[in-house]
Structures are given as structure tokens and as C-alpha cells.
Subunit: 219 residues, 2 copies
DNA sequence: TATACTAAGTGTATAATGAACACTAAGTAT
DNA sequence: ATACTTAGTGTTCATTATACACTTAGTATA
């Protein structure tokens, strides 16, 4: 390999989304080392020998969340020569969706170096992570409108009103209940479980689930 | 940098599309060196010191085509550990669109190590380039259906029938003339030039152009 | 135990959009 | 003058999207 060519470090950085308290949130890690020590950042890590990018992304995800089998896709690759002040580092950004219920850390019990931040109130972030996260939010919002990508944020079984609420939080707008139900059922992606959710002082709701845990596109 | 981390070579590889002879074609280069010597491959090259990914992609594009100011976007990053048999190389793939008329090499005068291959009849390709190109074609076809991305393939001024033909070639299907015209004009992205194309033994056609040379989304 | 409260669940009418379809117009060639 | 070629134009019908309000089935409480 000629020295005129770059041989940068490669990282994967993850935009890990969840919804809690009716807000779209993203996981942030407080950096323990320089540069940007004590600054919030996206969870990420260097690519290891022999590891594919997807493997690296899944490894980092599992390290930080303890969760496997979540929806994840490659987002974009950021390679500005000055994005890391130390040396050349190229990062391949991924975005992942996790149902809040599958995380073992309830919001109260948050550790000091990990937080879930609402996407419309991000703190100062290390490197170019604000650019990356804003790009990820844009992609998630766009994709929510023409696919069933929200399945990645749902528990296995859910009420239609919960599903509607997820959509509303992501696209940040209200939807009509009857039209939403008609459209969702018309996609053929949902099925009744037969079970009912009997919590709350009101009529019980049918619980639904996705037939396949796969992304599908509408239109 | 710790040795357990990868410091791979980084390349950019380009899916450069054009349309000629009513076919969607992609540029291929015959490799002069091992591995895959004498095998067709995507145009590409190693990232140079201090160069951003976009700069590298534009540099390679300009080296191969002599053309600047074309539509280009990042496609995907491919990082399988075994994708290059020599050593670890990660490639950031881009796709670019070039109007056939802007290329200075007419099809007759093709050089031996460069060709334009129809996308539905690709030869054997080096590395994972067939996977990358098929992915690029998929993206182009999808994007053609909900954006004006074809502007990247059009000359500055064109007949509506030419524009329709471009769409038909990309999506590989016939469109209704009257509906196509209605819809395209309804986007508000086109404007009449006032000039007419008087070639051919038939009624002259109004020449149109895009108001802005920017990608815009329908729906 | 009647009444209030809450979220679940359901249908219709109207507007907007998409799809199918055929002839006339304005040139050139013979 | 006639044939030929591509340009250019509207309407009807089907489908889809939108707006909108009441009844149902449970729990809580007075």
C-alpha cells in the first residue's frame, strides 16, 4: 500500500432510536476520553479485524443495549478529513430501532454516562454527531410515511391506538383514528391476536401483531 | 492506533449511468492489474490523503469522463472482510448520472479498456461489483418513480417525448403520453424555452428545460 | 347500583387523484 | 397533392384520500 493513500481508522456510529414518554429519543454516551471528553456522543466503536461493518454495528448495539434482533440499516458514511481532530477516521453510520419495553434500563435508573435524549432537544455533541443524528431523524421520518418501519419500535403485541401514537410521535402530527385504522388494516401486514388488553378503566382493546417482522413499503 | 483495529484501504467506486441507444448503460473499466486482471470493473480509486469521500468520487468521475457538475450521490458502503482478496478494502459506492451528449466519446470510438454496458446484460465483474451495480440500478429505478432525478440524464433542453423516453427506459415500462405530460407539467419543475426542435419530418416540438437543476420529490 | 368517565370501535359522503383512451396539428418527403 | 411522422390536446371513470361523530364495553366512585 502506497503512502499517498489514506488508511484511516474506521468506526461505526449508531443512531439508536426508541420512543418513551411520547417522545422520539436517541441514545447518547458521555465520552470518557479525549477528544470531546465528557461530551455526549453517539454510541460507536472501531471496526475490528476480520469484522464486517454490519457485524461491528451489531456488536456495538449489543454492548450498549444488550439487545439483539432489532431493526438496523446503514445510514450514510461520513468521511470529512477533519471530522476527528486527532487523525483521519471514517465512520459508517447505522440507525437502529428498539422498542422501549425491550430495554432493561427503566428511565429512572439511568446511569451517568448513558442517556436517552429527545431528538428535538439534543445537547452539544462530539465530532459531527449532530449532523449525523439530524440526518438519521430525517430518514426515519421519511421512511415512516411510506413503510411499516415503526414495527421496529413496537412491542410484539400492541393496540392500534398505540401504533397510531407511534406514527404521530415520529411524524410529529396528528392522524385521524378511523382513517388510520382503515389504512393500516388495508396493508394486510397486521393480524389480530385474539387477545385483548384489559388495562385501564375503559373498553378493552384488541391486541394486534405484525404478520412478518420485515420492512414493507406502501403505495 | 491499536493493532486490533482495522486500518483498511478506502476506495470509492462509481456507478456511472447514462442512456444511449434507448438503453440504460453503466460505465465499466477493464482492470489492468491483478487481482481480476482483464476483468471488467466499476471505475474507482483509492482515497487520497486529505481528500473527502465526495472529493475522491468527483476526482475519479472527472478522470474517467472529463465531466464535472453532474448529479452524484452516495449509494452504500461495502465492507465485507473478504471482498478484496489481497487485503482489507472498504469501498464507498457512489452513483452518478451523465447525459450521453456530454460525453466526448461517441460509442463508435470506444477505447479497449472502457465500455458502456447495458445494465441488464452485465459481463462478469471484479470483486463484488455486480452486487453494487445491481443495488445502484435498484436505487435509480426507485428514485425515478418519485423524483425528477432523470434531469441528470437529460441535455439542457429537450422535448417532452425525449423526457418520457428516459423515464420509460429507466423504469422499463411504457407510459401514457397525455398523462405523462399532464403530470410532468403539474410538478412545476419544467419551463418552456420558447425554442422549437425542428429536426425530422414532422411537427416541431417545444423544447423544455428544468427550472432548477436540483433533485425534487413528487407526492 | 346508578352514574360518570375513558378509550375502543365503527361508516359514509365528498374531494382529489390516477388511469384509460383517439383524434387533430404542423411539419417533411415523395 | 398526398402520405408520413411525431407533437399536442380533454374527458370520463375508477380509485384513493379526507373529513367527520356516535355507540360500546369496560372501570371508578358517589
Amino acid at each position: 500500500m502506497n503512502t499517498k493513500y489514506e488508511q484511516p481508522g474506521i468506526t461505526v456510529d449508531l443512531a439508536i432510536f426508541t420512543i418513551s414518554n411520547n417522545k422520539l429519543k436517541v441514545m447518547l454516551i458521555k465520552r470518557a476520553e479525549e477528544p470531546f471528553r465528557d461530551t455526549w456522543s453517539m454510541p460507536g466503536g472501531f471496526l475490528l479485524h476480520g469484522e464486517s461493518l454490519e457485524e461491528a454495528a451489531h456488536r456495538v448495539l449489543c454492548e450498549k443495549t444488550g439487545v439483539k434482533n432489532v431493526y438496523m440499516e446503514q445510514l450514510y458514511t461520513f468521511g470529512d478529513p477533519k471530522r476527528d481532530p486527532r487523525s483521519r477516521v471514517i465512520t459508517v453510520a447505522y440507525f437502529a430501532l428498539i422498542p422501549w419495553k425491550e430495554l432493561d434500563q427503566p428511565e429512572s435508573q439511568k446511569v451517568a454516562d448513558l442517556t436517552w435524549s429527545a431528538v428535538d432537544g439534543l445537547p452539544k455533541l462530539a465530532f459531527d454527531h449532530k449532523i449525523i443524528l439530524n440526518y438519521a431523524v430525517k430518514r426515519l421520518r421519511a421512511k415512516a410515511s411510506y413503510s411499516n418501519i415503526v414495527y421496529g419500535l413496537m412491542p410484539k403485541q400492541f393496540r392500534l391506538s398505540e401504533l397510531q401514537s407511534m406514527y404521530e410521535i415520529i411524524i410529529n402530527d396528528k392522524l385521524d383514528k378511523r382513517n388510520f385504522r382503515k389504512q393500516m388494516l388495508a396493508t394486510g401486514l397486521l393480524e389480530e391476536t385474539g387477545k385483548k388488553d384489559i388495562t385501564g378503566a375503559h373498553r378493552p382493546a384488541m391486541l394486534y401483531q405484525f404478520k412478518k417482522m420485515e420492512i414493507a413499503f406502501f403505495n
